[in-house]
């Protein structure tokens, strides 16, 4: 069965290209356009992994990650930060803020695929 990924992203161009990438990598994609939707969809869909943009209006990615980590139902879902915040220290901020891994925009399907696979592998090892 295809693994399900929740893509959290507000930029239409990025939704388009990252959506295609995830599709080619063999994942089923659900979309949330901001942090509030992300928290709700994480709880109702229980995806295998969340690809989280950080800079978003209304509720940003780190606020959303914090909420997702609080809910016992969603707290173990791996979160991959995929963001244009790429100053030194931003990776650490994302990891401290509840994300499990981090990639900086721009990325290609190769980097995205490797990061997702790494997290999913980790998770299945943890649940053994």
């Amino acid at each position: 069965m295809k693994k399900r990924i929740l893509l959290v992203e507000d930029d239409p161009g990025t939704i388009d290209v990252v959506g295609k990438e995830l599709e080619f990598l063999g994942y089923e994609v659900t979309l949330a356009k901001n942090g509030i939707e992300a928290v709700a969809l994480a709880a109702s869909e229980l995806p295998d992994l969340i690809v989280m943009d950080i800079l978003m209006p209304s509720m940003d990615g780190l606020q959303a990650a914090a909420q997702i980590r609080k809910d016992p139902k969603t707290k173990d879902i791996p979160i991959l930060a995929a963001t244009a915040r790429a100053m030194p220290g931003d990776r650490e901020k994302c990891l401290k803020g509840g994300c499990d891994d981090y990639i900086a925009k721009p990325f290609t399907h190769t980097e995205l695929g490797a990061a997702i696979e790494g997290l999913l592998k980790n998770r299945s090892r943890r649940s053994l």
Binding site: T14, V18, E21, A84, M87, G89, K105, P106, T108, H109
Partner: protein
Amino acid sequence: MSRPLKAEEKSAGEKTLEQKILELERANQVKKEFLTIMSRELRTPLNTVMGYTAMIKEKLLGEINAQQEKALAKVLSRANDQLRIIQSVLYASALESGEVKTENHEISLADFLDNLRSSYKGPLDKEFKIHWDYPSDLPVVSTDSLKLRQILEHLIENAVRFTAKGRVTLSARYSPGTKTAEFKVADTSIEIPKEVVQAISEKSRQMDSSETILLLYGGVGLGLYIVKKSAAILGGEVRVESEPGKGSTFIVTIPGEAVPS
């Protein structure tokens, strides 16, 4: 009859200290937000450019011929060059606005260099070996390892990028007398223009003149501005020795008292 003026009665030109502090804080906040927004605005479109180019090149969107594949490889490579410049420009702005703070912690210099060595991936298009030369008993010092790493990575990357043949050597020594760590990145083929050598080495040189920025940013100097500025916020300095036909050596000196183990 005179009475003390209330705050709102003061003339518009006279600002209270509190107002001035508030304005400065606001200005700093705006700078910070500006950099975050610029980062997003510059990186987001590249995500589409590079994402689709890579997918087409890997034939995920259908067959392409060899010539098209080659052309797309060039697009990707140039987009990567542009990304590198965007990164440097944004980081240099952050350094310039005082946005970048240092975070010191105790690190073993030997472990730090072992780590740098094992994570270094050479350029894909060149057969290249870096020669690492440092004693295994380098001490533990208190410094900002992220920034130190960034400085050395920049220098190695520059050296490898511009060295057609020959070799690049990274050496490190600690001197207990002056309580400083010295790192040298030497190559065998780059010749650094005299003006650039001066711009890097002069301690008093104003870092905010556009002339200096241009010197340290253009061509061979790409990123040296960041190296110089970063070394300065670590309390250290950078100098360079360059000899025509022999190559260049960048010397970074960072203060740090050895922590007894």
